[in-house]
């Protein structure tokens, strides 16, 4: 566009600077230098972001589909299985069993067979022990026929399902982590089917995470709005004091705040003691306020409240009191003036606070882990569990990518509905 407008000038006689260089050229040189300077200044940050943010996320995305274990550590079996028709209803032939025996022997020596065992165990429970016990006994297996020998060691080697699984998971990439993340799996014929009911958990967890995040966001709006209003309207010295109370949580470690809530909420804790003391509940009827949804709701609302208050406050502070007064002088009652005039002007701050609190809470980890028990934990707690306990990094990665996609989707919806430009953070 710039070229189009400048073009009318340059058609006849290009403008020159004093030393005869075309004006456009020297302008561009000046701009280029400026841009290079700006780029160099941001370079350290860009490198930092790339190494510690972009690269790990890319790695995580890759892990959620990566599947090289089977092909890498039992290559002969995988190659031999190529020709086998999984739907034929017949077991693979002797050649495949021989290849497997050799793979397991080598894998036992190299200590890699455990990886295969663990990988396949994610799909069908029992695969791990099948491989491990077979590995212990194939050493004495020197000549064929291997088929009968293996089936004798463990009858699972005579089941079609075992071989179908190995063949299915022998590719370099797999969708099974994502299927698992939405409570689905491949059946023996390779079709996508729902997990058996007792193993369905992740969609439920995503739902619970969303529902609780929504409740926390609503609570934050309900509690944060009046506080922000007070902050914006109180005389300065009271407002400053209140602001310190609002910011105090920011200056305290998340862990400390959460453990403080444990002290408050547990059955022998401060709140229950108080209620018993006042006589609202009996000593036997102490309330279960922690290690369930209630605990997570209370603690997380408290922790995320500043993220709602601050954007609301920054917007409210810019609304002069004369707006409400004008509305009142025009005949509106206090309530009507508030709803029709004040509230609409706070929406940009409320939007910012809502999206901030919701996104933060959807990925929250520590607090639900400490006070959530089993009924108040979030999807992120299960991700952590897969990372550190079951070591199923593929599934953890798939769940993480889905969480990320969810957040981005919400962000886009918000942008469409309200417009990110209208968001006021401070």
């Amino acid at each position: 566009m710039a070229a189009g407008t400048a073009g009318t000038n340059t058609e006849n006689a290009p403008l020159m600077t004093a030393d005869g260089v075309p004006l456009k050229q020297s302008l561009q040189r000046a701009l280029r230098q400026k841009r290079r300077g700006a780029f160099l200044l941001t370079l350290p940050l860009l490198v930092f972001i790339f190494i510690f943010f972009v690269a790990p996320i890319a790695d995580m995305m890759f892990r959620s589909i990566e599947n090289e274990v089977v092909g890498k550590y039992i290559p002969r079996t995988v190659a031999a299985l190529k020709d086998w028709d999984a739907t034929s209803g017949e077991l693979p032939d002797e050649k495949v069993f021989a290849a497997l025996v050799e793979d397991i022997k080598i894998g036992r020596k190299d200590r890699t067979i455990g990886k295969v065992a663990r990988r396949l165990n994610y799909e069908i429970a029992g695969m791990s022990s099948l491989f491990r016990s077979t590995a212990r006994r194939v050493a004495r297996l020197d000549e064929g026929p291997y088929k009968e020998a293996l089936i004798a060691i463990r009858p699972q080697w005579g089941e079609l399902e075992t071989w179908q699984l190995i063949q299915r998971e022998s590719g370099k990439y797999t969708a099974s982590y994502y299927l698992a993340a939405v409570d689905a799996r491949f059946d023996n014929a390779g079709n996508i089917v729902a997990q058996p009911e007792e193993r369905q958990i992740y969609t439920f967890l995503f739902g619970r995470t969303m529902a609780m995040s929504l409740s926390i966001t609503l609570l934050c709006i309900l509690l944060g709005f009046p506080i922000a209003y007070l902050l914006a309207t109180l005389p300065l010295r009271y407002a400053a004091l209140l602001m310190i109370l609002v910011l105090l949580p920011f200056w305290t470690s998340l862990l400390v705040r959460t453990t403080a809530w444990i002290a408050m909420l547990q059955q022998q804790g401060v709140i229950n003691d108080l209620l018993v003391l006042v006589g609202i509940i009996s000593d036997e009827g102490r309330l279960q306020l922690i290690h369930n949804k209630t605990g997570t709701l209370i603690a997380m609302t408290h922790i995320l409240l500043p993220f709602m208050i601050l954007p609301l406050y920054s917007v409210m502070k810019t609304i002069p009191p004369s707006y409400m007064r004008a509305a009142r002088s025009l005949g509106a009652t206090q309530a009507r003036a508030f709803i029709k005039v004040y509230l609409p002007q706070t929406l940009s701050g409320m939007g910012a606070g809502t999206i901030l609190v919701f996104i933060l809470s959807i990925g929250f980890y520590i607090t639900p882990a400490l006070v959530g028990g089993t009924s108040g934990t979030f999807i992120s707690n299960y991700i952590a569990d897969h990372v550190s306990t079951t070591l199923n990094w593929g599934l953890a990665a798939a769940l993480g990518v889905m969480l990320l996609a969810l957040v981005l989707a919400l962000y886009l919806i918000y942008d469409k509905a309200v417009g990110i430009d209208n968001m006021k953070l401070g």
């Binding site: 002069p320 004369s322 707006y323 007064r325 004008a326 509305a327 009142r328 002088s329 025009l330 005949g331 509106a332 009652t333 206090q334 009507r336 003036a337 029709k340 005039v341 609409p344 002007q345």
Partner: protein, 371 residues
């Protein structure tokens, strides 16, 4: 003032106001405003004008005293039931509504029918010549246009009383002058009562039927613009309205309407006794620069003093002369640029004279300098 409350449309009776319980921001306000009048509260910043307006509109309670509107005490009437239109200094147009929605707001609150609202909004917009701007947001209008919308919004529900708090303060000079006339015309054609607040004396003189000059929470004088300029009753008013020469002295004798005052430099002058105490007390006299004659002939005026010319400023229609008279070196004389006026030179000494009538002996004040 104002003992006949039956005539007053707005009436402040002994109103006091304190925000902190320690200082009175409004000290003892008594003011009667008849229906249809344009009254301006004029005074320096912090003199309590806005506070008075806020009490009238119902946003601040009076600490003491009573305010009446159309004969009814309104201290306990909430703002939305007072039926008072108000124009704020920052206009307070609702930014999330269009101009038309802003104007429709007071009508919707009064549950008028859609058709009525539409015609009234249109009429109000036409009145301020913004008929084509109904669909715009306030942020898309210029300052002057926003100002007109604010006026239209305060008028659209046809209140009998309009309050305006420095409504033109944010506009540039030219636009301000134009809006002064427009507001004045609207007042005349609609016959509403207007209470207007400003700290700009020219604005007050241009627009008002009567001006109440505020200082320090007290009304110094309520008069028509010409009386205020020509017959100020306190030094503050003389100083605040128009340009003023102040001469301090001690009263020698008080006669019938006049008094003799000995200036601090020894000369004695005769002045009109307006606001003086007994013989021997101090007084500040007020003398308008255009009422002073240079080199008066013989004994044509009773008061003649010597003046040394310090500075001449040529202003076309008149020559502004700063001289030292009776020890004051900020004595201003305006000499009309007529044919054959006195030739003047900086540094020369001339006689300056004036009528006793034009020299008003008022309450003594330390503050000085031409207003």
């Amino acid at each position: 003032m104002g003992q006949n409350g039956s005539e007053a449309f707005v009436r402040f009776e002994g109103v006091q106001k304190s925000y902190d319980g320690e200082t009175l921001v409004v000290k003892d306000l008594n003011l009667d405003i008849p229906k249809g009048e344009f009254v301006t509260m004029l005074g320096p910043s912090g003199s309590g004008k806005t506070t008075c307006l806020m009490m009238l509109a119902g946003f601040e309670p009076a600490t003491h005293g009573e305010i009446y509107l159309d004969g009814q005490p309104i201290n306990n009437v909430p703002p939305h039931k007072r039926e008072i239109g108000m124009v704020f200094q920052n206009y307070a147009l609702f930014p999330h509504m269009t101009v038309a929605e802003n104007l429709a707001f007071p009508l919707q609150v009064r549950r008028m029918s859609k058709a009525d609202i539409e015609t009234k909004v249109k009429r109000a917009l036409d009145m301020v010549e913004l008929g084509a701007f109904g669909g715009r947001r306030p942020a898309q209008l210029s300052g002057g246009q926003q100002q007109r919308v604010a006026v239209a919004r305060a008028l659209v529900f046809e209140p009998d009383l309009i309050l305006m708090d420095e409504p033109l303060g944010a506009l540039d000079k030219q636009l301000r002058e134009q809006m002064q006339y427009e507001i004045k015309h609207i007042h005349e054609s609609l016959e509403v009562t207007v209470v207007y607040v400003t700290h700009d004396q020219a604005e007050a003189l241009t627009m008002s039927n009567r001006i109440a000059v505020f200082n320090d929470g007290i009304i110094q004088q309520i008069s028509s613009p010409d009386t205020l300029y020509e017959a100020p009753e306190t030094s503050f008013v003389a100083h605040f309205i128009g340009e003023n020469n102040k001469l301090d002295g001690t009263i020698q004798s008080v006669g019938k309407g006049t008094c003799k005052v000995r200036l601090d430099t020894g000369e004695t002058v005769t002045a009109k006794a307006v606001n003086v105490k007994e013989k021997g007390s101090r007084t500040s006299m007020s003398l308008r620069p255009e009422r002073i004659v240079i080199n008066p002939k013989g004994k044509s005026v009773p008061n003649i003093l010597k003046g040394k010319i310090q500075e001449l400023i040529y202003l076309g229609d008149h020559i502004r002369t700063r001289m030292t008279v009776a020890g004051h070196d900020d004595f201003i004389v305006k000499i009309p640029n007529t044919f054959g006026h006195e030739p003047l030179a900086e540094g020369s000494t001339v006689n300056v004279g004036w009528e006793s009538e034009d020299c008003r002996a008022l309450d003594f004040t330390e503050a000085h300098g031409p207003g």
